[in-house]
């Protein structure tokens, strides 16, 4: 019995399984991003896709029925959206939004997910950094001197620390690590 051959077969089996699962999984899960204009053509097809754009000016939220109606627009085209759920935290006219859903058969979109693209959430404000008005050569020279100096000192210290005997590495080791690693 040749184990290698068996393993080869086993790995082939796994690869085929991955391929099959990935392919079928992909068929159901791949979501294409459309612009509102493209979405207007596709809403009749009944397929699920994502539309990215801005929330239009008219937003209607019915708390009793829990229905949210709005339009997603890119300035040129707009698609009416119906979402059965509450508006997300920072939802409002003009906000960037990604709508995931399928056409309702009448030119509108029934959203199953509403994802806010909120630039304020994780993005930092652009910082205005002035051009470096410093003597780069001078700073560079200091850095070089510092680097080489430190390296030489450290080499010397390591050499000294090693002399007692390399066999007992653990004792002096903690010492050296503490010196190098921990913030003072």
């Amino acid at each position: 019995m040749d184990m290698r051959r068996r393993l080869l077969w086993a790995s082939l089996l796994v690869i085929v399984a991955v391929g099959y699962l990935a392919y079928t999984g992909w068929q159901g899960a791949a979501l294409y991003y459309l612009t509102p204009a493209e979405a207007r053509e596709k809403v009749l097809s009944g397929r699920t896709f994502r539309v990215a754009g801005n929330v239009g000016p008219d937003v209607a939220w019915d708390p009793g029925a829990r229905v949210l109606r709005f339009q997603v627009t890119d300035g040129t085209a707009a698609v009416p959206v119906l979402y059965r759920g509450a508006p997300p935290d920072n939802f409002g006219p003009g906000q960037q939004v990604v709508v995931e859903g399928a056409g309702d058969g009448q030119g509108g979109l029934v959203a199953s997910r509403l994802i806010m693209k909120c630039p304020s959430k994780y993005e930092q404000a652009p910082a205005t950094a002035p051009p470096a008005g410093r003597n780069v050569l001078y700073l560079g020279a200091v850095a070089v001197a510092l680097a080489v100096g430190m390296a030489l000192v450290a080499t010397r210290l390591l050499g000294v620390a090693r002399r007692p005997g390399p066999a007992h590495h653990a004792g002096p080791a903690h010492h050296a690590e503490g010196r190098a690693g921990k913030p003072a």
Partner: protein
């Protein structure tokens, strides 16, 4: 001061470049003088990085808003702990953190590991300094935390309220500690390949590998043999621990802070941390096989290279904003540098691996398919398959976008259908593995050892599934969807998930039970004394058992999500409604005014079986942010969580809620604690006193003796063939909380 910190970063970069350069020279010319210089430069780099970081922390602590980084991530009113933690809240600081941690590891290798193997340490240190130089280059020239603002703002932007959370305080730093640590085994693997190839002499063995002689590969070719694994083992373990803890903290943060009731969304950034975890887990186990059986050397080299690559990819995905994600940071100019570096890593390590392949080629055939090493190999195929699916789903949208095609993304269902089955198979295999011995096991014996735990697991899982199904039906979920019979076939999957998890737990506990009985009858100790004795004698075995128990707990938690129930409703004050098996009564809105925020919360009562829970889901308003932040209210225990979100409130007092009943979620966090405990048992460094005697133990229990003792214990386990030797193979996280 600010200029000084820039100079420090620059000097650190120069120290790395200089150190890497002299190490390469010293290796090429075999010059001890140059090598010593390189060691010194590594320590100098660590000191310089530390000083620069201390300065940044100082600037953050005193709110020096001349720095753009300080102004962008903190404000005066922020508590000090969040001011300091802003060190890793942004891109620039986290790049410096990468370099800082790596520089400490470099100093450790230069000082401690060097004494054990100068040949490998020199080469590994050169590689580590190269990686460190890359990150310091980014910090110095591309994305510096020390950039200054020209009009100094009176106050900073503050830290995003969603990041003001204890989990978020620790999540990034633990994840980074995990990411960075894998640089060390990666560097040592390549070092071993290079050393073995260019000197022709086995690098690990003659000089300092006496402890490994017993377990080295059969023909003595230890080119990339256990030497590098042994030297970097503690780095590997600690990094795996930090990576695991980072992922679990991230899940917990998402659960309590993001307010959608889940902990894992298969978001690209989450996947970026899962990918190296999967390959690192595979690496840990095949490294063990190499240590015990002398095989799988090639696997190990390839796995650690891939793991390192994935940590860089993970940093890149998180920090470059190339993928749309809830976590990703703003787009920055980092992408090109990272891509270039990743190509360099792949080419460089690919070259070394191909050149040195003859050193790690498999020469020993497997003895039997019914052995622990065979199970590990199969589990690694499955983990690799899982990782491949996750990789594909995460990265394909990137390629599709680059190719000019339509932007595309994949939803969680892709991962659940294509990836999670592999994870589930790994967990099943792990259960079986607990009773397999090294080398070969007799089928009858395995079946006998497995019979009772398997029967108990299937029965217990069936009971658990039935209880959860009843709870679901009681809540009227199935009534709406038709007959209860429709639930039957579907419930097979969670039943299988629970069975696999319980099998892992029961088979492991049965092994401990047998060991305890044997020890008690031979030593006459009490239960606790016997347990302590066993753990003390073989901490790696019992630590691994604990980690596998942790995985079982987590899989129970993941599988429980199949029974999740969700409902949404709008109520006027005083109104009640039935949902997800509870009777909810909404009493009204209240508000609290704090200096830095205003909270509006709903007073919601949930009654079930005569017990009333009071929940206060909130909306929080911060002066610096125009949007509101939902703060969920969660009550629960080991059986289930009740998770409530205040979605919208009206001025007339009406409030819209979403409520989720989440069975067994708490077991994920329980598993997290067990995982930490188990890994600590395995990895806790045992100090060796100057005389070579370990603290409070027999003389044979030093670091080197440890391996010998393990090998002996295993040899006995093999001879008996009853699978009592260290039980660890195939650890995988199976479920997924869509």
């Amino acid at each position: 001061m600010i200029q000084l910190s820039e100079v420090l970063v620059l000097a650190g970069l120069l120290a790395c470049v200089y150190g890497g350069g002299v190490l390469v020279l010293g290796i090429a010319r075999d010059s001890k003088r140059w090598l010593e210089q390189g060691r010194g430069a590594a320590v100098a780099g660590a000191v310089l990085c530390t000083l620069a970081s201390v300065l940044l922390i100082y600037f953050l602590a005193v709110s020096d808003f001349r720095l753009a980084y300080v102004a962008n991530h903190t404000s005066r009113s922020l508590p000090l702990v969040y001011k300091v933690s802003a060190f890793w809240a942004g891109q620039e600081g986290s790049l410096l953190l990468w370099a800082l941690v790596l520089s400490w590891y470099g100093a450790y290798v230069a000082r401690v590991t060097w004494a054990r193997s100068p040949v490998l340490a020199a080469r590994a240190l050169a590689i580590m300094l190269g990686v460190e130089a890359f990150f310091l280059f980014l910090v110095a020239f591309v994305s510096s935390p020390f950039r200054v603002l020209s009009p100094v703002p009176p106050d900073g932007m503050g830290l995003n309220p969603m990041l003001q959370n204890v989990g978020m305080l620790l999540h990034p730093v633990t994840l980074y500690l995990g990411y960075v640590g894998f640089t060390v085994p990666f560097a040592f693997a390549l070092a071993a390949l290079h050393a073995g190839r260019s000197t022709g002499a086995p690098p690990g063995r003659a000089r300092h590998g006496a402890a490994r002689g017993a377990v080295a590969s059969a023909d003595g070719r230890t080119g990339a043999g256990p030497g590098w694994l042994y030297l970097s083992r503690s780095f590997t373990l600690w990094s795996w621990l930090f990576l695991s803890v980072g992922i679990i903290l991230g899940m917990q943060w998402a659960y309590v802070e993001l307010g959608w009731g889940g902990y894992w969304a298969w978001d690209p950034v989450e996947n970026a941390s899962l990918l190296p975890w999967l390959t690192a887990t595979a690496f840990l186990h095949s490294a063990l096989v190499q240590e015990k059986r002398g095989t799988m050397a090639g696997w190990n080299v390839v796995l650690i290279v891939i793991t390192f690559f994935l940590t860089i990819l993970g940093t890149f995905l998180t920090r470059s904003g190339v993928l749309s994600s809830v976590h990703a940071f703003a787009p920055s100019g980092l992408g090109g540098y990272f891509l270039g570096f990743m190509v360099l890593v792949l080419l460089g390590s690919g070259y070394l691996v191909v050149r040195g392949w003859s050193l790690v080629e498999e020469t020993r055939p497997l003895e039997s398919l019914l052995s622990r090493e065979a199970a590990v190999i199969v589990a690694e195929f499955l983990l690799a398959a899982f990782a491949l699916v996750v990789f594909w789903g995460t990265v394909f949208p990137l390629f599709a976008g680059l190719g000019g095609g339509r932007q595309v993304s994949v939803g969680p269902s892709f991962y659940l259908r294509a990836g999670v089955p592999f994870g589930a198979l790994v967990v099943m295999l792990l259960g079986i593995c607990q009773v397999l011995g090294w080398s070969r096991s007799r089928a009858g014996r395995v079946a006998r050892a497995l019979a009772v735990p398997l029967a108990l697991a299937v029965l217990g899982a069936g009971g658990l599934t039935a209880v959860l199904l009843r709870a679901r039906e009681g809540a009227g979920v199935s009534a709406g969807s038709g007959a209860g019979a429709a639930i039957g076939p579907w419930a097979i999957w969670p039943w299988a998930g629970f069975s696999a998890a319980l099998l892992v737990a029961f088979a492991g506990l049965a092994g401990v039970w047998r060991d305890l009985g044997a020890r008690r009858s031979s030593t006459g100790e009490g239960w606790l004394g016997a347990l302590a004795g066993l753990v003390d004698r073989n901490p790696r075995r019992y630590g691994a058992l604990l980690v596998h128990l942790a995985i079982a707990c987590m899989v129970v938690g993941f599988t429980g999500s199949a029974f999740r129930q969700e409902a949404a409703f709008t109520l006027q004050p005083g109104q009640s409604t039935e949902a997800v098996g509870y009777n909810f009564t909404y009493r009204g809105l209240e508000a609290t005014h704090l200096p830095h925020r205003v909270s509006v919360y709903a007073h919601l009562e949930a009654a079930r079986a005569g017990r009333v829970l009071v929940l206060r889901p909130e909306k929080q308003y911060y002066p610096n942010y125009e949007s509101a932040f939902s703060e969920v209210a969660v009550r629960g225990g080991l059986y289930e969580d009740l998770y409530t979100i205040l979605e919208v409130w009206q001025h007339d007092g009406a409030a819209s809620f979403r409520v989720i009943r989440e069975p067994l979620v708490a077991w994920i966090w329980v598993g997290g604690y067990l995982l930490v405990g188990g890994t600590l048992v395995i990895a806790w460094p045992r100090r060796v006193a100057p005389g070579g005697r370990p603290r409070g133990g027999a003389a044979a229990r030093g670091r080197a003796g440890d391996l010998r003792a393990d090998a002996r214990a295993d040899a006995r386990g093999d001879a008996r063939g009853d699978g009592r030797a260290a039980a660890r193979a195939g650890g995988g996280k199976g479920g997924g909380g869509g």
